[in-house]
């Protein structure tokens, strides 16, 4: 924006004339330390203008007492700047590593800005300069890395309150353990190269390969589990035995409706006899019993 209106770089000292306080706050951040104090590249040496763009038109407007709107990137919510313009400033240096797939990602195409989730101008106590901070009560530990996501994903927030859940509301996991909000090569912004490779990060015992595999398990854990929370035990999408009976009707015992007091239903239901549903390595484990 600023470059396209013919502006030129004026140097950080010029900015400090009016924005001393903001500059001091920024200098306390990790990015501020590099840009304001120990720049290593030409881009970093531009200081304020590395992100806000060349400031000559802005300075001229101030000196002339004119409206400064649009003279450089302000990053304010009321500035009316498209997210992609704001993000382009960040991507100059950050379009690599975990941010390599930002362009084309679900969040990018829905118009999210980096500054929707990250605080740049003031130091955040959390890694990644997150715009929220961890907070705790006696019952919950709310991690910034989850709270930022849940602000826009109310269903997932509600699902975390379900009785069967990953320890997210206890603060032991965050959304970022499984998802990379900056974009990935996998659906749903998953960090692994597949659903299962994401789950194996913590559940390596289910990785196998096994002598006797359970095909839908090998293809996707989400065939049976709802990772965000469930009212059924073990995060199951549907209560047993009905879950298993979606696919298994090979025999009378698998295909029968059963009374609720049947041992095919209570306790672990089908897993009362077939506990190794994720696969078995036993020569006699074909029925996932051994």
């Amino acid at each position: 924006r600023a470059e396209s209106n013919g502006a030129t770089y004026v140097g950080t000292d010029e900015c400090l004339t009016c924005h001393q306080q903001q500059a001091e706050e920024f200098a306390a951040t990790a990015m501020g330390k590099v840009l304001m104090k120990s720049p290593r590249t030409d881009a970093e040496r531009r200081g304020c203008e590395a992100c806000h763009g060349p400031g000559s038109r802005h300075v001229e407007a101030v000196q002339a007492g004119e409206d400064v709107a649009g003279t450089l990137l302000a990053f304010r919510p009321d500035a009316g700047e498209p997210a992609f313009e704001q993000n382009a400033a960040c991507l100059q240096c950050h379009e690599q590593g975990g941010q390599a797939y930002w362009r084309g990602s679900a969040h990018e195409t829905r118009g999210l800005a980096c500054v929707s989730c990250h605080s740049v101008m003031a130091r955040s106590p959390e890694r990644g300069q997150l715009a929220k901070s961890d907070s705790r009560t006696a019952l919950t530990a709310r991690r910034a890395a989850s709270e930022i996501c849940l602000g826009c994903h109310p269903n997932e927030r509600a699902q975390l309150q379900r009785p069967s859940h990953h320890p997210i509301r206890e603060g032991k996991l965050t959304c970022a353990n499984c998802h990379n909000p900056h974009g990935t090569v996998t659906e749903a912004l998953l960090k692994g190269f597949s659903v299962n490779e994401t789950c194996y990060q913590c559940h390596a015992e289910k990785r196998g390969p096994f002598l006797w595999e359970h095909p839908p398990v090998r293809e996707s854990c989400l065939n049976c589990h709802d990772a965000h929370g469930s009212i059924n035990e073990w995060l199951l999408k549907v209560k047993q035995p009905r879950l298993c009976q979606l696919c298994h009707m090979e025999s009378t015992h698998a295909a029968s409706p059963f009374d609720a007091r049947s041992r095919f239903v209570f306790n672990r239901s089908c897993a009362n006899c077939h506990p190794l549903v994720h696969g078995s390595n036993h020569p006699s484990g074909v029925r996932l019993q051994r």
């Binding site: 330390k33 240096c93 362009r103 118009g111 919950t140 206890e170 009374d259 609720a260």
Partner: protein, 713 residues
């Protein structure tokens, strides 16, 4: 610079400490806690001691002159869920992180067992007990009083370290190592056969279920290495990840309570193989480059191995069942994965963005297919010949979307995706799915944001072979009309909408709606329909400078319909329906009562879920009945007042209340001993021996007080 370097070399710690400013906070106090009811669910993933607590320690040291920093953070120190985190580095050069984290997972507090534990995963009954029960299982109810309590819980301890180093601008090297140890016990139910003969009876083999506290002792090592070169216009990155999983317990073996001696038809002991050790390695290379027309091409290529070659256990623990030698001693499990992904994005015009993507994921299973002629059912009888199958699949995904911004206040996106699955040894060898849909974002006036999206997708399996993938047995055992939901023809429609309004300054109202329906029109048996509906409303308000309020309500509704049966020639045939409804409410307030002195936080949430399973049948002789509803309620209330006593010291007084309530028919009737309803009425046959572990553990009311001081320095 030379004197500084000389000082650093001579006394690095002193050099660092000189000129280092240290800040931090310590939060500690007392936490009187009372739990009425069962503690299992309350302490599922957390440790809330009725004791003095060290909630948090944060220390940050920063050396302005040398650009170094050190951060240390401790949470819930000296508790089961403690976490310690150290981060240090030099801005723009390197960051080193070291972390220790403990996650408890309490499964149940009600488990009882007659078994005692020995090393090597052995579970044994007391001397003479097996003979007593095998000869007369009717004595089991009287003996169960001697069962001992056993804790079912797992604790995950994880140590992590990560180094990120930037030797020169544009280069980055990463190295990480993590070790995770999971230890504890989990419930594991097993199938056993026994042959019980009562006076006057013929031998009567029966299946009994024996539930055991199974050992968990896993160690997982993960090593990661990465190197990256990047400029403003391009980057290239290589990653390597290795994960080594070791199970310290190879097998679980147990006395069969209802069979004292090995015999054909029932073994005196059972044995299963616990999760085998395995290894996984992935090497990936990713790169991206800027192209003309504000375009960018990004790609990733990854190759992975999942390997497992643990020795097999013997085919059975029952010496009375003759078995031939196994065809191999280990499976030589070998899965290789390949990922190739390309993404092209372009913004040829300010108001137009075009994205195209292609992704290929291949899971190639090279594990040998073994023919096991001496498969033994539950350590009791020989089964028919079985053949293990190396299931494999590949998945192509291609598509793109166009985003148009005709006005600064409007954005329209149209997307299309094609997906092709190829599977080995499953019912559907090839299937294709097409997905298309638009979405729109509008900001017609400042303060109002409207988002809506719709996608329609249709999955079409080329052929469905109901008999594919079977390891043995007669085709008559397979229902030819069953269509498994993950492979079947499916039409999926999804609608979502969100409206966010800033009605008046400092009041935001956001409502969202989502509906997804999966229609399995060609499935005569299996999942027929699956619908999900959700809607939510959230309000935040700041009516005064010193007061912020919020309230949210969410309703989620899931319904499915299924048909189960043996097919045209079968006996069973019934329809099942499921309907889960979960309502979640939350509200709270943050207020400053006395500016600079007293802040108050209030939070309340209530989640109520109810699950319904219904069944019915029109087939003669098939009695399909509804199951009792399952419901859970969770109330959480927290009130905290923070009084700033001095510039550095604050006193926090709080009260929290949590109420959990659950009704689950599947868990409530389980006691350590249950005579199955599948047997003759009023009979102890066939008996089973459970842990009596309720999951979820049960209802409770918890009251937690907080008196804590926070000192900042």
């Amino acid at each position: 610079r030379a004197p500084v370097q000389a000082q650093e070399a001579a006394d690095p710690l002193g050099a660092f400490l000189e000129g280092t400013a240290v800040h931090g906070a310590i939060d500690a106090g007392a936490q009187p806690t009372s739990v009425d009811g069962r503690r299992g669910k309350f302490a599922e993933y957390r440790d809330i001691p009725d004791n003095a607590v060290l909630n948090e320690v944060r220390i940050r040291g920063e050396n302005e002159a040398r650009d170094y920093f050190v951060e240390f953070r401790a949470e819930d120190a000296i508790q089961d869920d403690q976490r310690y985190f150290l981060r240090m580095g030099k801005y723009g050069r390197y960051v080193l992180e070291v972390e220790w984290d403990q996650v408890p997972h309490l499964l149940s507090t009600t488990a009882r067992t007659l078994f005692s534990e020995r090393g090597g995963g052995e579970r044994v009954l007391a001397e003479g007990l097996q003979e007593l029960l095998a000869s007369n299982p009717a004595q089991l109810p009287a003996l169960i009083g001697a069962a001992r309590g056993v804790g079912l819980s797992i604790r995950q301890d994880t140590g992590r370290s990560r180094l990120r180093y930037t030797p020169v601008p544009g280069w980055e090297v990463g190295l990480a190592y993590a070790v995770e140890r999971d230890r504890g016990r989990r419930p594991l139910a097993t199938a056993n056969f026994a042959s019980l003969t009562e006076p006057g009876d013929a031998p009567n083999p029966f299946l009994s279920i024996v539930e055991l506290p199974s050992p968990v002792d896993f160690v997982t090592h993960t090593v990661e290495f990465s190197v990256e070169r990047h400029t403003r216009d391009w980057f290239l990155r290589v990653d390597q990840v290795s994960s080594i999983f070791e199970n310290q317990e190879e097998s679980l073996s147990w006395d069969n309570p209802f069979q004292a001696a090995d015999a054909l038809g029932g073994g005196s002991r059972g044995r299963l193989q616990l999760e085998p050790d395995n290894r996984a390695h992935t090497v990936s290379i990713a790169g991206g480059a800027a192209l003309p027309l504000r375009s960018r091409l990004t790609g990733t290529f990854a190759y992975g191995w999942m390997l497992q070659d643990n020795s097999f256990q013997p085919a059975t623990a029952n010496a009375a069942v003759p078995v031939a030698p196994l065809p191999r001693n280990s499976p030589d499990g070998d899965i290789q994965t390949l990922l190739a992904s390309v993404l092209l994005t372009s913004r040829p015009l300010d108001r137009v963005t075009v994205t195209g993507r292609y992704r290929f994921y291949d899971l190639d299973n090279n594990t040998p297919s073994l023919i096991l002629g001496d498969y033994v059912v539950a350590d009791a009888v020989r089964g028919v010949l079985r053949r293990s199958l190396p299931y494999a699949y590949s998945r192509h995904t291609a598509g793109g979307d166009v985003v148009l911004r005709p006005l600064s206040a409007a954005s329209l996106k149209v997307g299309y995706q094609w997906e092709r699955w190829h599977r080995e040894h499953r019912e559907v060898r090839n299937s294709e799915e097409h997905r298309v849909g638009p979405s729109v974002d509008l900001t017609p006036v400042r303060g109002l944001l409207l988002r809506a999206g719709y996608t329609h997708s249709s999955r079409d399996p080329k052929d469905y072979d109901a008999f594919a993938g079977r390891q043995s047995g007669s085709p008559a055992l397979y229902n030819p009309l069953l269509r498994k939901f993950d492979e079947a023809k499916r039409v999926r429609d999804q609608v979502s909408a969100t409206a966010s309004v800033t009605a008046i300054p400092l009041v935001d109202v956001t409502g969202s709606f989502g509906f997804a329906t999966d229609d399995f029109a060609r499935s005569a048996f299996g999942l027929l329909k699956d619908d999900s509906l959700s809607y939510s409303l959230g309000v935040t308000a700041a009516p005064m400078e010193r007061l912020a309020l919020y309230a949210d309500v969410t309703r989620e509704d899931h319904r499915f319909a299924q048909r189960v049966g043996l097919g045209p020639a079968g006996k069973a045939d019934f329809r099942g329906r499921g309907h889960d409804t979960i309502d979640t409410y939350s509200a709270g307030a943050r207020g400053t009562v006395i500016p600079g002195k007293l802040d108050v936080d209030l939070d309340y949430s209530f989640s109520f879920g109810i699950g319904r399973l219904r069944a019915g049948s029109t087939t003669a002789g098939v009695e399909a009945t509804d199951y009792p509803n399952v419901d859970t309620k969770l109330h959480q209330l927290s009130a905290v007042g923070t009084w700033k006593l001095t510039q550095r010291v604050a006193l926090r007084l709080g009260y929290a209340f949590e109420h959990f309530e659950t009704n689950d028919f599947a868990s409530e009737i389980v006691e350590p001993f249950v005579a199955s309803s599948d047997g003759p009425k009023d009979s102890v046959r066939p008996p089973s021996l459970y842990l009596g572990a309720r999951t979820p553990d049960g209802d409770y009311d918890a009251h937690i007080g907080t008196v804590a001081f926070r000192y900042q320095f």
